[in-house]
Structures are given as C-alpha cells and as structure tokens.
C-alpha cells in the first residue's frame, strides 16, 4: 500500500526544547494509522508539525507526493488535510451551523454530506442553531470531527478524540471512525487509549522521547502483550 504521508528525520524545536528528534514514519493511503505513546512523547507536536503550526527545524514531510515541510498552515490545510486538535478547537461563540459553514471552504455545505455527518453524529442536527460552547464535551468532539470532514479530505489528523469522554461516547466514536474509514479517508489518529486504538487501527507507530520506537501493523502489536507493555507501559495499564 502506498503512503499518503511520510515523515523523514523530522526535528522540531519549541523554544529551547528539542521535542521531535528525527521522526520517521509513514501513513498508508486509505488506512487508519494510530500514533501512540506516553504523555510527553511528542505525539501532539508531531501533528502540529505536519500542520505547519510548529515549523520543523530539520527533516522532510511528504504529503501526496509533495514536500510540505515549511509551508504555512493554511496552505497545508488547502491540500486536503483536516485537523482536530486535542483542545478540539471549536468556536464556542459560533453556532454548530456556523462552525460547519466556516469549514466548508469551497461554498455552501453540501446537503448530502451534511446528512451523512448527521447520521454519524445526530446531536449536531439537534443543536444546529446552538452556540457550540453550550455543547457537552462529547458533542464538541463530534462537532470538531464533523467540521474537519464537512468537505472531502484526503487526510484527517485527530489528536486524542477520546480524552475525557464517557465510555458510551467512546463506543459511539469507534463506530463513527469505522464509518469514516469506509469513506476512504486516510486517518492519522493520536491516542492514549489502547482499547480504542486496537479497535480501529490498521497500522501503528509508537513514539517515545521524540522518536518513533516501533511501527508496524496494529494486529501485530495487539497480539503481543509483552511488546505493548514495553512500548506503552503505564499508559496502557490505565486503559485496560
């Protein structure tokens, strides 16, 4: 399977801190890749560097055959990359409708696509005219994902979508991501919840101290408990 996104020797400095220290991994086209790792491993920095929110100080980021390292964030997004940050980044003072309308860059929201998203996240239809700040945490996460997918995207970057969510909402998220996978969207998903990752991932990359320390198929990692403990340690225990 060819790679849609590939990072090679990517380094990122934030102030005096050297966060990413030569990250190499690839995201296969059409699949869901999980990026796992302990707190502080560099997962969020990795996504932000791909989006151009933090500049890579060295290395190369190839997306769809072109080097995108050093490009400004809007240019990266315009290539067809949707991004859901860890904070969700919803606009609290804008209604659900306005949040989605803003993300539909090419014009009015496509009605069929909206219906599809309402099928995934029915709460968005119910709270259509409500300011997004009034939504619950799970609903905000649904809005953030729907906003990233309001137009077809080649790649979806999602940072810890299950953080702080109730188990029932997480189960709903699993179903939603399965549906997104069926829509042929390539997804790179940062996660600490291994059960969630195991349920969805096709491939996996594990980070530690700013480097990729393991990459391969999710099935392989899911079947090797010793490797899971070695790579993920306490963060795995917390979600068993």
């Amino acid at each position: 399977m060819s790679s849609l996104l590939a990072l090679a020797g990517v380094n990122t400095h934030i102030g005096h801190y050297h966060i990413l220290q030569g990250v190499d991994f690839a995201v296969p086209q059409g699949g869901l890749t999980m990026l796992l790792g302990r707190n502080g491993a560099g997962k969020t920095t990795c996504l932000r560097t791909i989006m151009g929110l933090w500049k890579a100080s060295a290395g190369r980021i190839d997306f769809d055959g072109a080097d995108i390292s050093g490009r400004p964030t809007p240019a990266v997004a315009q290539l067809g990359i949707g991004y859901v940050p860890e904070s969700m980044g919803i606009f609290a003072g804008l209604t659900v409708r306005e949040n989605l309308a803003l993300a539909a860059r090419s014009g009015p929201i496509d009605a069929r696509r909206l219906d599809w998203l309402f099928g995934l996240f029915p709460a968005l239809k119910k709270f259509w005219q409500l300011p997004a700040g009034h939504l619950s945490g799970g609903q905000k996460q649904m809005l953030a994902i729907a906003r990233a997918m309001i137009e077809p995207r080649k790649l979806l970057l999602v940072d810890e979508p299950t953080k702080g969510l109730a188990p029932a909402i997480i189960a709903h998220m699993v179903e939603a991501f399965r549906e997104l996978k069926r829509s042929d969207t390539t997804i790179l998903l940062v996660e600490q919840n291994f059960n969630f990752a195991r349920a969805l991932g096709d491939t996996v990359a594990v980070m530690d101290s700013g480097r990729i320390v393991h990459s391969g198929s999710m099935a392989e990692l899911a079947g090797d408990e010793a490797l899971q403990h070695k790579l993920l340690g306490l963060s795995l225990d917390a979600h068993q």
Binding site: P72, P85, A92, L94, A101, F127
Partner: protein, 334 residues
C-alpha cells in the same frame, strides 16, 4: 440551509447587560432636578456614547482578533479629525450655507477623506510598526505608545501647534426644542451615525463569511488557519477598517467639540479603554453597550458633580468587572 427538525434549541441573547442602559438612566432620574434636564442629559449621554463607540469599536476588534493593544489608536482619531478639518475649512461656503443638504454634501467628502487617510495610515502602521511585535505584549505597548507620540509630533509639523476652531455646519447648530426639552441637532445626528455604524458592523459580523472569519479568528486564530484560511489577511483588513472607524470617530468628536488639537486622540483614549474593558475585549456588542453606559454616566455625573466625572467612569468599570470580570459580553478565547 437548515436541517429538518422541530423545536430545536437556539441561542438566547443575554439581555441583562442591555437592561443596564435603562436602569442607569432611570436611576439618575430622581437625582436630576427636572424631567427636561434629564432628557437633555440622556440624549447628550447617548450621543457621546455613540461617538465613543465609533472610535472604540475598531480597537476592540483589533485586540480581540490580533491580541494587539494598540495605544496608537488615538493617533488615527486625531488624524481623522485634522484631515476632515482641512476639507471642511476648504469647503467653507457649503459648510456655512443654511441648507442641511449642502452641509451634508460638505461633511460627506470630509468623512470619506478622514476615513481613507486614517485607514491607509493604519495599514502602513500595521505593516511597519505592529507586525514585528505580534505576540510580544510589552513591546507592543512601548512601540504603539511611541507611534502615538511620533504621530502627534507629525501633526504639529503639518498643521501647526495652535488649536484649530471647527464650527459645526450651519444646519447642525442649535437644538430641537419641545417645550422645556432641548436636544442639540448635532447629537441627534451622532446617534444616527452611531446606530448606522453598529448596524453595519452587526450585519457584516453576523451575515457575511468575512464576519464569520473575524468572529472565529477572535476566538482562535490558529484554528481558523488550520481550516485553510489566511487569517493574516483578515487581520490587516480589520486593522485598516478599525483605523478608518477611528478616523470617522475623530471627525464626529471634533465637530462635537468644535475644535481640534494634536492631543485629542490621546485624551479620549482613556474613555475608549474603559469602554472596551467594560464591554469585554473583542466584543462589538459589549463595546456598544459599554460606550452608551460611559456616555450616560459621564453626562449625569458631569451635571451633578463635575469634579468626579472621569472618576465615575472608572468606578463604573470597577463595578462592572466585579460583577462580570470578563466584561459585559465576554469573548470565548482559546
């Protein structure tokens, strides 16, 4: 477009800050010796509030969107006033004619020139002075204060150090009199101009895509960029529009005071800062309510106890912040 569905939850406007305006006005009523005086003061307060709103609205958007506290905003007010004065003095004949239409025909180019010059200078100021210090608040304060001082000195070089008299156009002098009630004609015009500016800003912010971008950018500019929009372009546009509005406010304020001087922008900045803090930094609606409150309180207290007029607005700000520490209409920021 809206999805099918009945009885959907909708956003409700927080009406409590709106109610403050009649509450303040009615609270002053028993303290003022007569009803006509109270009506005159109320009209004067609303007119003053509208002019402060025009001057402050651009600054609050600039702060909300760009996180820049621009102390040089007062310079655009002063420059707008001086440019309009030059135009109006050159058009002395229609300004002094006893015809409202001729007067307005003279004021219109003065306002347009003031807004164009202030907007263009704002554009240059953003590019040369502000852009290098985005995200560095201490440097912003120092460099924009420096910009204000330089602008004032340039005004002295171009227009001279003397205070320039700027009589109101003939048809805008005097008052509308109804019994014992007298309301200055110019104040009525100021109220209409303020309402028109507020309505235009409201429509742009709530009904257009640019407005949506500005409101989203005020909350989280990084996320707007992640959606594929070049927010810097919106920043520049808002800075220029805010400067142009300051220029318009400068024209209105100069005609209200009937004089212009190089420090007028600096003097009114205290009231402007009070207004945008009361309203909630970045909130145009809050700025509107805050400006009207400041205008009313300044006029009532100025009549009852002139020595504490400015202090009364600082007290108003303290009371509002004790009640709502983020201002009347806080803007959700990331």
């Amino acid at each position: 477009m809206s999805p099918a569905g009945q009885a959907l939850p909708v956003a409700r406007l927080d009406k409590v800050p709106l109610a403050l305006i009649p509450v303040v006005a009615l609270a002053a009523l028993p303290l003022i010796p007569s009803l006509p005086t109270w009506i005159t003061l109320t009209a004067a307060g609303l007119a003053m509030g509208m002019m402060i709103f025009i001057m402050a609205s651009g600054l609050t958007l600039v702060f909300g969107l760009m996180d820049v506290m621009n102390f040089a905003h007062g310079a655009f007010i002063t420059i707008g006033a001086y440019v309009a004065t030059s135009v109006l003095l050159a058009l002395a004949s229609p300004v002094q004619a006893d015809s409202l239409w001729l007067n307005l025909a003279a004021i219109a180019p003065a306002i347009l020139a003031a807004m164009a010059v202030a907007g263009a200078l704002g554009l240059a100021f953003e590019r040369v002075i502000v852009r290098p210090v985005y995200g560095q608040h201490l440097k912003q304060i120092l460099i924009t204060m420096g910009g204000l001082i330089v602008a004032e000195q340039l005004i002295l070089v171009i227009w001279g150090p003397d205070i320039i008299a700027l009589p109101k156009p003939a048809a805008l002098r005097g008052s509308f009199v109804l019994g014992d009630i007298a309301v200055e004609k110019y104040r009525v015009l100021a109220v209409f101009v303020g309402l028109a500016v507020f309505a235009a800003m409201f429509l742009v912010l709530s009904r257009t895509r640019v407005g949506l971008l500005i409101r989203a950018g005020v909350e989280d500019s990084e996320m707007v960029e992640s959606l594929g929009y070049r927010i810097r372009r919106v920043f520049v546009g808002v800075f220029a529009a805010g400067s142009a509005l300051a220029g318009l406010g400068g024209v209105m304020w100069a005609l209200y005071q009937e004089t212009v001087n190089s420090a007028m922008g600096m003097q009114v900045m205290i009231l402007i800062f009070i207004v945008i803090i009361i309203g909630g930094l970045g909130s145009v609606g809050g700025c509107f309510i805050g400006a009207l409150l400041v205008g009313l309180v300044a006029n009532y207290v100025g009549f009852l106890a002139p020595k504490i007029a400015l202090g009364s607005n600082i007290l108003l700000m303290v009371l509002v912040l004790l009640w709502r520490p983020q201002g009347l209409y806080p803007v959700a920021k990331r």
